[in-house]
């Protein structure tokens, strides 16, 4: 007698089961999309050392509680902040005979502004009531100024954008010699070191 073949399993409800799982995962999971501005906080020092910084090497940005900007004692719109910061960082005001002379700067070489990018410090001071929105906007513009200058130099020296290559190296998707790329990134970073200081907030203005 011929053996009866096993009946086929009914797969009609497979779609329902898969839908159920799909909806479960849709509800309980989130997409990875966290990006942000990274920052290194200064460690606490027992005895803060006194460093004398020349006034011209300091770019003071004040934000009051109404989110108004005061840059170098002049009121300013947020949209002009990036260019002002670029001008300040890229100034290179020291004369060409000085060892601190910045040979890659393309700024105005105004002796009354910053000496070189290594000396230039941007100081941000917020009121406690400044909105976080404004705080991030200011930080974003200032980081944008640094990125602009770093991109310019990396384009000039190596023909690629600093920010793109850094993102690729961080994500591990960089194609080519990673060590070499990291070294080049570091070199560019040293040309325009991120010197952003945050004064402890107090009351700014009225």
């Amino acid at each position: 007698m011929a053996r009866r073949s096993a009946p086929e399993v009914n797969a009609g409800s497979m779609a329902d089961i898969a839908f159920l799982l799909l909806i479960f995962f849709l509800v309980t999971t989130t997409m990875e999309k966290d990006k942000g501005i990274s920052r290194q906080l200064p460690p606490i020092q027992e005895t803060p050392e006194e460093v004398i910084i020349k006034d011209k090497n300091l770019f003071v940005v004040l934000v009051n509680k109404n989110d108004d900007l005061l840059v170098e004692d002049e009121p300013m719109q947020l949209k002009d902040l990036r260019q002002a910061a670029i001008d300040f960082l890229d100034n290179g005001g020291v004369s060409s005979s000085n060892p601190l002379y910045c040979n890659y700067c393309q700024g105005k070489r105004d002796p009354s502004s910053s000496d070189n990018p290594d000396k230039a410090i941007i100081s941000v001071k917020n009121d406690r009531l400044t909105s976080y929105n404004m705080y991030i906007a200011v930080q974003n513009e200032l980081v944008g100024a640094y990125n602009f200058l770093r991109n310019r130099e990396s384009q000039r020296l190596y023909g690629w954008d600093f920010t793109t290559v850094k993102a690729q190296v961080d994500a591990g998707t960089y194609v080519g010699d990673k060590k070499q790329a990291e070294e080049k990134l570091k070199e560019i970073q040293l040309m325009y070191p991120l010197k952003l200081s945050e004064a402890s907030p107090g009351k700014v203005g009225k």
Binding site: L41, T130, S131
Partner: protein, 157 residues
């Protein structure tokens, strides 16, 4: 003879749904791979500010701090002042250290020294609260932080 006459029905044949499970499974696998489990239940509002000069967060070495106004369903109980949330509960500024050390302990040991604190702060919060958090972080010697933002630029508005 009638055996050979084809029965002709005028009805449309039903749509073949045999490949539907395959399609759904494909979607399912996509979501399983591309997403991660939600770990925390948000107790505070989270409209993150916009920024475009951003770097990617390395999730494996980060602990999260949320801050903002309590969400609508907690407003009656906790008021509308900015609050800090770590893990699944509100935390007082002075207790941040303990809560963060707990969170850090959950990371894999090799990365515990490289911890990055991700600050997810609502854009309507006062900077003072963020400053307090940062001051605490400095005391804890967790100095690498990242302000989580959403893509965009505030100048475009």
């Amino acid at each position: 003879m009638s055996k050979f006459t084809k029965k002709k029905s005028n009805e449309l044949p039903p749509v073949n749904t045999a490949s539907l499970p395959d399609i759904v499974f494909m979607l399912l696998f996509f979501f399983m791979v591309a997403t991660v489990m939600r770990e925390t239940n948000l107790l505070v509002e989270q409209n993150l500010p916009k920024a475009d000069q951003v770097e990617k967060l390395k999730k494996d070495r980060s602990v999260f701090i949320f801050a903002g106004k309590p969400s609508d369903q907690y407003k009656d109980k906790y008021g509308s002042e900015g609050r800090v949330q770590i893990g699944d509960k509100y935390t007082d500024i002075s207790n941040i250290g303990m809560a963060l050390n707990d969170a850090r302990g959950k990371l894999i040991p090799e990365l515990q020294n490289k911890v990055v604190v991700a600050l997810k702060v609502d854009d309507d919060t006062n900077t003072g609260l963020v400053t307090d958090i940062k001051e605490e972080l400095r005391k804890l010697n967790m100095v690498r932080i990242i302000y989580i933002t959403t893509p965009g630029n505030q100048l475009d508005q």
